[in-house]
Structure formats: C-alpha cells, structure tokens
C-alpha cells in the first residue's frame, strides 16, 4: 500500500491521542480513589499516602459481595433463557420458514429500535400486578422480552446461512424437527451463540433503567442499578465514590480483558446487526 510516512505519523499520533482521551477518565477515577476519604483532590495528582483501604471500605459499605451475587443471579436468569428462546425462534424464521414467517419476523424486528423508556410506565404497573415488584424477576422477565428482537435477528442471520441439504440428510436418517434442531443445528451455532451470550451478559449487567424503576432494594439490582444508589449515598465523599465506582465497573472490565478478542468481535458484529 502506498502511504507516505508523514501520513502514517499523523495517523499514529491521532490514534494515541484518542487512546489517551479514552483512558484519562479511568486514571483520574483511580488516583482520586486513593486520596483520603472526604477530600477534594486536584485533578491527576498522586496522593502522598495512597489510601488503599478506600477500596476495602467501599467494598464493605457497598455490600459488594451481595451485589455481585445479585447481578450474577440476574444474568443467570436472563442470558440462558434468551439464548434458548432466541435460537429456537431464529431457527424457525431462518430455517423452517413456516407459513407467515415473514410477517412474524417483521413484528420482531420492529422492536429493535424501541427505547426502553417507551414502555417503562406500563411495565411498572404490569410487574406490580404480577406481584413481582422488588424481586429480581422484575428485571429478568422484561429483559428477556426486550432482548428478544435482537436475539432472534442475530440467530436468524446465522440459520439462513445453513445449507438445506444438512437438514435433508438428517431427516432421511429419521430425525424429527426437534432432534434436527438439538443435535445438528445447535452444535453448529456455537460461535453465533457465544457472541450473543457476551452481548446479552454485558447489556444485562449494565442495565440501569429497569433496575431503578422496578427494584427499590439496591442489593437486588444489577451492578449498574446499584451504582446509581451509591451516588446518592456517597455523593459528597469523592474518593469513596470513585473507589466504589471502580469496584463496580471492575467485573465487566475484567471479563472484557480476559475475552477481549471475542468481545471486540461481538461488539463490532453486534452493532452491525442492530
């Protein structure tokens, strides 16, 4: 490729600049968290004596253990069910193509751009009437529904690329539709499923609106929802608030860094499909 050196240099400088801008807020959060609690530290100054204890304090008063468990329970409720239902419907719309599949799929796709605020009010009354307010079900069940358009779209996109011959061969061997799905198509869909699982995990963990509207007790919310409550609790104690925020975003950051390749691929594809 013919690119002159000056352009490459400008390119690199720009990229580094963009990375610095991305990272500085994280660094600022981190150094601020190390200052004595109750102070208003200056910008990016390193404290004279770093207060590592702030993290322990924040961990305790945020009841981080409970929060992690709560978020994990919510994720465990949302992600597997969304994957299963999304895959079954994606298989139906992408592969079985029963009569009326076009219109059915279209109705799903319409939900793709729906802002959650658009349905939050009736959802509150519906969840109240179901007697589920203040339980984790209040977050889990609506999220499964709200993620359905994307999950179905994602899995359908996978299944339409699967060759028909594969199913015909299995059927000749006497497989029913369910066996065909369970033993032939689900194993082949593994890459699509794992990317979808990553995205659903992230969106569930970071869900804020449903958590603050439908659940009052921060210990029964998602991580992001709990963070909202702490801002009120520690709003004036900047170092402790920063330490708490870091603890709360640490799990997603850790998962991201461990599975970064998959994550980046999933995030890129995810926005392309959405």
């Amino acid at each position: 490729m013919i690119v002159n050196r000056r352009e490459t240099l400008i390119g690199r400088t720009l990229l580094v600049l963009l990375m610095v801008i991305t990272v500085v807020p994280f660094i600022s959060l981190f150094v601020t968290a190390l200052h004595p609690s109750g102070t208003y530290p200056d910008g990016l100054s390193w404290p004279d004596s770093p207060q590592w204890g702030n993290f322990a304090d924040a961990f305790r008063s945020a009841r981080m253990g409970e929060l992690l468990l709560s978020s994990a329970l919510i994720v465990a409720g949302v992600v597997p069910v969304s994957l299963l239902l999304g895959t079954m419907a994606g298989f139906a719309f992408g592969h079985l193509r029963m009569p009326g599949h076009r219109i059915g799929f279209l109705i799903f796709v319409l939900g793709l751009t729906l802002p959650f605020e658009g349905i939050i009010t009736p959802l509150y009354y519906q969840i109240r009437d179901m007697g589920l307010l203040n339980t984790r079900w209040a977050i889990i069940l609506p999220l499964i529904g709200l993620f359905m358009p994307f999950s179905v779209l994602w899995m359908r996109a996978h299944f339409v690329t699967m060759p028909e011959d594969l199913s015909e061969a299995a059927r000749l061997d006497g497989a029913g539709t369910w066996q065909l799905f369970r033993h032939v198509h689900v194993p082949l869909a593994r890459p699509a499923l794992s990317s979808l699982a990553i995205l659903l995990f992230l969106w569930t963990w970071n869900q804020f609106l449903l958590a603050i509207v439908l659940v009052d007790d921060p210990a029964k919310r998602t991580m992001a929802g709990a963070l909202g409550a702490f801002q009120g609790q520690w709003g004036t104690d900047i170092p402790l608030l920063c330490a708490g925020s870091l603890l709360i975003l640490a799990p997603t950051l850790a998962v991201f860094l461990i599975f970064q390749r998959r994550f980046v691929a999933a995030l890129l594809q995810g926005s392309l499909k959405g």
């Binding site: 963009l18 990375m19 079985l96 709360i248």
Partner: protein, 303 residues
Amino acid sequence: MATRTGSARPGRRTRRPGAWLGWLFAAPAAIMYAVFVLRPLLLTVQYSFYDWNGIGASTWVGLQNYTRLFTEPEQLATILHAFELILFFSLIPVTLGLFVAATIRGIATSRLALVARTVLFLPQVIPLVAAGIMWTWLLSTTGLANELLSAVGLQGVTRAWLGDFSTALPAVGVIGAWVLVGLCTLLLLAGMSKIDPALYESARLDGAGPIREFFAITLPSLRQEIGVCVTVTVIAALASFDIVYIATQGGPGNSTMVPGLEIFYLAFSEREVGQASALAVVLVLLVLVCVLPIQRFTRDGNR
C-alpha cells in the same frame, strides 16, 4: 446470503406435513415479546389518551396530553434537547471517527492498532452510569478539565461545567461523545479494511491526494458502516437516560432535561402517567422517524 426459495426448490412451497411446526419453535419467544414488550407498548398508547395519577380513576382526555407536549415550552424544550444531543452523540463521533479512521487506515494491522482495538472499546464495556460518575468528577469545579484549563492560562473560563445553565447540555454531550467515538472509529476501520487496496493504489498512481482519496474511495465504500454508526448513535442520543440521570438529573433548572428522564419523572415522581405516556409515544415515533430513512438509504438491497 439467504437464497429465496422459489423455482429452485419446488418442494418448499407445496405444503410439507408439519409446515406449521415452525410456529411451535417461535412461540416461546413470541410470548415473552408479546407480554413484556408489545402489551406495554400498546398500553403506553392507551394511557397517553388519559389523565391518570396511577392510583385513582382515569379520565379520557383525547389528545390533550399531546397538545400540552407541543405547546408548553418546558415540554417542547425536552424534545429539542434530545436533538441538540444528537450533535454530540452522533455528529461528533461519526465525523471524528471517519477522520481518525481514514488517517490511520494505513496502519490498521500494526501493533498499535491492535492495542487500540481493546482500549477504544473500554467506554462501551462499562455501565453508562460509571461513565457518568467519572465525568461528573472530571467536569466538577476542582476536576481535571478545569485544572488543565488553568494550566494553560485559561482560568477565566473554568466553571462547574455540569452546573452552569449554558454549558450543562454540551457537557452531557461530551460524555456521550466520549462513550461513542471509539465504537464509531473501530466500526469504520473495520469497514475500511474490506476496501480493495488496489483502489487506493490506482488512485495514488493517478495522483490523488489523501483528501481526494477520502471522498472518491473511502467515503462511498463505507455507506453501510456509516449508516450503522449514525443509527446506533442517534438512538443513543434520543433515548439517553443513564448519563443524564447521573450527571445532572435534568438540571440546572431544566437545561438538560431529555425525553427519557422526563418520562421517568412524570410517571414515577409527578404521577402524571398520561403525560408520561404521550411523551413515550412521541419518543418511540421520533426514533423511528430518524432511524428508518437511514436504514433505507444504507441497505441497498443486499441484506
């Protein structure tokens, strides 16, 4: 690509036994979607025609909630704020992303670019609420932003950026831009990597400079990726909630009140369920009106 059935596979159209079986597979997803999305959506429309405090009896008021929305300056301002945020959430990340991606295109496979792929995604991975908290601190009176300004001799302009009537909304916009610029840059870079390098080589041999090259080759080839970036970011701007809730709570005054937040307050603090629902309907329609034309323009029938 999905091959349409038609003449190639005649057996597909003649009714196979169990052709309806697919609906059994789709049913559980459809039920969840209907109960937790479609039903509430229809109820939102229904509520929007009533005056209801959420507890007592409701009264039919026709279009009154909607007329209030467009005649009361305070309500209308909410919608206008959302459009102002589009400039920050969408226009800045997409143009900046295009500019940066085009400039770094040549090094897309270098080690630096590989690291950048991880780093630039960081804001996408953390909760928006955390982004809000970080930036609230950065933009506060004693925060880093003011510190830097003072360091270069601009003490005069320092202020509490999120607490000032004239700067609060742009400050919220900056947070959104920070969240979205990395995603846009990387999406556009991925799109560029699919462009045939031969195109660039021949352009260079024909004596095209970087600017000609950008407008003649890069921009037209990125139609789909640009469409995706605009769609994602416009929805993020119109439906913004988390960042505003944390950073300003709509204040000072009403200067950063956006539809998402206003729906929340109307429904759950002020108990004006009808009014909240009317705004929710308008928000859903706004998103559709903004997003559907972009989709039409970018998917030139190949998906």
